[in-house]
């Protein structure tokens, strides 16, 4: 490890440095998983040049912020369900505002916000309006969206696309580049079949194959979609029928991160070069897979609600494989 790295770690009061590279590809899987386990308690993991570093969120000094900021940082929120008002959370406006306050309190201002869907609860105009209004106070330079199944009710997503679909194709899919990272926004909540899971559809898959065809394999890829792109719990519809095909187009890339929502809890999995991560909701939690008769809103004691809602902070640092994904609860 470079001497400069050691000094940085010492200054930041880093708790641990892990270096395992059993697959000889620069991915520190064991360390990453260990770090992800800390993430729930508010740890901040950064991979730099294949080496995992972790810092407690509370112990970040001023001059280390640049080191920690990395080369690209953004924040993901999900499932705001504006319009929901039931015992699980009678005030989703307040909790979304709390999430925005958290964003604004991050050590480094995220460049943009990613909303992975279920922006509204019933696809109503005033629900979308309210979210747009609240997001105005977020200190981010831009915002990107993908729809959830609650955003495309009654009109096949027409209103959603009018509001958030500028520059998108088909049902609202698109891609963009930021600081050398390629982002792909997918829509897997349309044309769902009876008894089925989420669905991408042939048109979108063909577009995606073409979209990544000419990218160099060292381009970091971040895919975001509402329903998980891996089989979290099919019995509850927590998966996507044709995601394997989509992931197949990404096999050549050294670093792929998949960010999803829909399940209202954090879950992560590392498989080969792909890291899957789901975000908490800003509205209400849902039970763990199979822990309840159905995946509906879960009521927790009032003083615990904000500990099960949250945001996800993502930092990318240039290197072989470098991504830090940190979940923060609202309280």
């Amino acid at each position: 490890m470079a001497e400069s790295d050691r000094r940085t770690l010492a200054l930041a009061g880093a708790k641990d440095v892990i270096e395992y590279d059993h697959n000889h590809d620069g991915i520190d899987r064991r360390g990453f998983l260990k770090c992800m386990a800390w993430a729930g308690a508010g740890a901040y993991c950064v991979i730099q040049g294949g080496v995992m570093k972790s810092f407690a969120l509370g112990g970040l000094g001023g001059k280390d912020e640049q080191e920690l900021k990395g080369e690209l940082s953004f924040v993901q929120i999900s499932d705001s369900h504006m319009g929901f008002s039931k015992p699980a959370n009678p005030d989703v406006v307040a909790t979304l505002q709390a999430a925005i306050d958290k964003i604004n309190a991050l050590p480094a201002t995220p460049e943009f916000l990613l909303h992975t869907g279920d922006i509204s609860h019933l696809s109503k105009a005033n629900e979308f309006d309210m979210v747009d209004q609240l997001l105005k106070s977020a200190k981010v330079k831009d915002a990107f969206f993908v729809p959830g199944e609650h955003d495309v009710l009654n009109d096949d997503g027409k209103q959603y696309r009018e509001r958030y679909g500028k520059g998108t194709q088909g049902n609202g899919w698109y891609s963009f580049d930021k600081n050398g990272v390629h982002f792909i926004g997918l829509v897997n909540v349309m044309n769902l079949k009876a008894g089925g899971l989420g669905s991408l559809g042939n048109e979108q898959l063909e577009w995606m194959e073409d979209d990544v065809k000419h990218l160099s394999k060292s381009t970091p890829i971040i895919v975001f979609a509402h329903i998980p792109l891996w089989s979290v719990y099919p019995e509850w519809g927590w998966g996507t029928e044709d995601s394997a095909q989509a992931l197949g187009y990404l096999k050549k890339f050294g670093s792929v991160t998949v960010l999803n929502g829909h399940i209202h809890q954090t879950m992560q999995k590392v498989e080969g070069n792909v890291t899957f991560h789901t975000a908490m909701s800003t509205a209400f939690p849902q039970p763990k897979p199979g822990a309840a008769p159905s995946p509906g809103p879960m009521k927790v004691p009032d003083n615990e609600l904000r500990t099960v809602l949250g945001i996800t902070d993502v930092n990318f640092v240039q290197g072989k494989h470098a991504l830090a994904v940190t979940d923060q609860t609202l309280a």
Binding site: H150, L153, K193, A194, G195, G237, P293, G296
Partner: protein, 119 residues
């Protein structure tokens, strides 16, 4: 003159009454309170249709009511009938006139399925 006037009133009255009756008739039919068939209730709760499979006589109206704390829809696999989004305590009715099997699902949560068998 008076006679003609009286006649006008009577004609006008009859016309009014017949219009009224016609409206009342159509209102009654669209509300599904037709004396022909009965109404069968299906409850939507806990991400499921209850009972999931029902067998009814042709002419019966099925009424789905959402008792869940999440919105759901009722959509026939073959698109013969489709509800709008039903929030908690909202209902949707459909009258089945032709015998057959009608599988349906919730388009928001497609794992939720049900079936209406019409004899």
């Amino acid at each position: 003159m008076r006679q003609k006037f009286k006649l006008c009133i009577v004609v006008w009255g009859v016309l009014l009454f017949s219009q009224f009756a016609a409206h009342a008739q159509s209102a009654q039919t669209s509300a599904g309170q037709d004396s022909k068939g009965q109404t069968f209730d299906v409850k939507i709760d806990n991400f499921s249709f209850s009972p999931p499979t029902i067998t009814i006589a042709a002419g019966t109206t099925v009424k789905w009511t959402n008792r869940d704390d999440i919105p759901h829809t009722v959509v026939n696999d073959d698109q013969k009938f489709q509800s709008k989004t039903l929030d908690t305590d909202e209902s949707y009715t459909y009258t089945f006139t032709k015998p057959g099997t009608y599988p349906y699902f919730c388009s928001i949560h497609p794992k939720m399925t049900g079936k209406v068998v019409v004899q």
